[in-house]
Amino acid sequence: MAFREDQISRYSRHIILREVGGRGQEKLLSSRVLVIGAGGLGSPVAMYLAAAGVGTIGLVDMDVVDVSNLQRQIMHSQKTVGIPKVLSGARTLERMNPDVKVIPIQERLTAENAMDLFSGYDVIVDGSDNFGTRYIVNDAAFFLRKTLVSGSILRFEGQVTVLEGYTDAPCYRCLYPEAPPPGLVPSCSEAGVLGVLAGTIGTLQAAEVVKKILGIGELLKGQLLLYDALSMTFRKLRVPKDPKCPLCGPHPTITTVSGSSEWVCQVPAS
């Protein structure tokens, strides 16, 4: 692939990095990344991937932009309130970088459509807002042997990890075997979230995606990164592969993608 003159300028700060170079930039331009959730996490992830020249970015989200999103969902704006998030996002990303093809998918991710939606992509990014979706994303990514870059945020804290359960690395079920029952752990907007936290965690996810595509550095595999904005601390914990994992362990009991993504916002019990 030969770069156009404008591309050499646009990506010059990448190309001069020995670890990226022209070859790496070509990899980015020919890669395909699917972002689940076009909200708080999906915004910084997709924007940095677009700026980096990731050639194809799929966005999955069924919601429309609400004014209450704008405190942290920086891909959207006052002008796009009321329109589908995936279209608002596509507009932003394509304006940032015309090299990027955005595929807006205004659907709820379900056990039925996950395998089809994921199949054309190299890397999957989870920035969803509920546990049901997180297990579906994990299982589909596992069956299709795709790297999953997972991020989540709540109040002032965030978590990031890279999951490749089809290797000797763990999957999401190794980390959290079961979803909490509704109400026990807050899982959404009612709990509140510091807006900038979405940027911190989403940007870390984007870094892992870019590293995966380029094949450089060490990924957060088998590790959970915790960020606490209040104490401004980052910590890494070890996440082993669970030999009893029902998905990626030696004796799996989960053999297809199932489960519901219906259950969404739950108010914390206490």
Binding site: I36, F131, L154, A198
Partner: protein, 93 residues
Amino acid sequence: MAVVVRIPTPLRKLTGNQNEVREEGGTIREVLKNLESHYPGIGERLADESGELRRFINIYVNEEDIRFRDGLDTKIQPGDEVSIIPAIAGGAK
């Protein structure tokens, strides 16, 4: 012997907003018992009726998940740090 226990944001209402507390105990089980006696209600958030740790909450001693050590009977050494890490799912909404 007291160890530092890090409390995640969803449970800080129960610890008077403290992000870490000090508890006595030679094993995680003892630490959790003392935690419950000082902060009533926190125990049922961490363990079910049969006393088993809930499966969406991980407890770490330093960087290691106790599920891959001796579970609630995992021993604690002076200076160890205990962290309670719940699954969180926020991101899009």
